[in-house]
């Protein structure tokens, strides 16, 4: 076989056969839609590992850095307003500082937790292979499909 076939012409030629087979229930309903949906999932599946996801989360949290109490200038457009701002600012800054320190302790705990998860994932060989993750997801999908058919849900 050297010459390419004219698939369009052949498909038109076999339209009757296809219709007969469909009428006989040879193909499961929704077959084409399932195949298209499967391809869309494959095409949209990011080749990203769980480790990539956690790495990004750690970077985002670390980049956020420690929180600080903002230094608000005691200015005002009202006469005497600046003095009021200074008095109020001195009153609330200690409370703000205490709150920020508490938030920073929480941020440190979150960072430590993420780094611990990152370390745990790094020790899983499969979690660093995008192709393997993709394959495992595919197996999951196929098992789910089989389960749906067995349960008569599809």
């Amino acid at each position: 076989m050297d010459e390419p076939v004219d698939l369009e012409a052949l498909a038109a030629e076999v339209a009757g056969t296809v219709a007969e087979r469909r009428a006989a229930g040879l193909y499961p309903p929704g077959l084409e839609a399932q195949l298209d949906a499967h391809f869309v999932r494959v095409a949209n599946r990011a080749l990203e590992t769980p480790l990539d996801v956690v790495d990004r989360a750690v970077e985002a949290v670390v980049a956020r850095g420690p929180l600080t109490v903002p230094d608000v200038a005691p200015t005002s457009s009202y006469p005497g307003g600046a003095a009021v701002h200074r008095v109020v600012g001195r009153t609330v800054v200690r409370h703000e500082q205490a709150l920020v320190e508490e938030l920073n302790r929480t941020l440190s705990a979150v960072t430590e937790a993420l780094v611990a998860i990152q370390g745990a994932i790094e020790r899983l060989p499969w979690a660093q292979s995008p192709e393997l993750v993709s394959t495992l997801e595919s197996i999951d999908e196929r098992i789910a499909g089989i389960e749906r058919r067995v349960n008569g849900a599809s």
Partner: protein, 126 residues
């Protein structure tokens, strides 16, 4: 230019009367995934063991990777998606093919295309 022995052996082991080869560009407009779907239907309902060899420029590398993964996920054992294949490999695909499809895959149902390929294989066997 010659193919290595492993490649030659792989192609030689493919069952006769089952090999569809496609040559085209890996771009959405040519719908290479539709041919993979058709070969999946062909293999599952009409010609057990049917498989597809694909070669052509990877103009859309993401699509080419997706078609490769999709072929694997559909369990088309022995199939070979080779975006950017060397001329020698493409020539080997052509020599081994029972049916050759070139360029855009018709925008038809995979079932229609599968039955069309079934007929093409039958005619090629005569």
């Amino acid at each position: 230019m010659s193919l290595d022995a492993v490649t030659e052996a792989h192609l030689a082991r493919l069952p006769p009367g089952t090999v569809i080869a496609w040559f085209g560009d890996f771009v959405a407009a040519q719908r290479p995934q539709r041919l993979v779907q058709a070969v999946h239907v062909l293999s599952g309902w009409h010609v057990p063991g049917a498989l597809v060899l694909m070669a052509g420029p990877a103009l859309d590398p993401a699509l080419a990777r997706a078609v490769d993964r999709y072929t694997g996920e559909l369990g088309l054992v022995g199939s070979w998606v080779a975006p950017g294949a060397a001329p020698a490999l493409a020539a080997a695909f052509r020599r081994r093919a029972d049916v050759i499809v070139v360029g855009p895959v018709p925008d038809r149902s995979p079932v229609e295309l599968a039955v069309a390929l079934e007929v093409a294989l039958e005619r090629a066997r005569r």
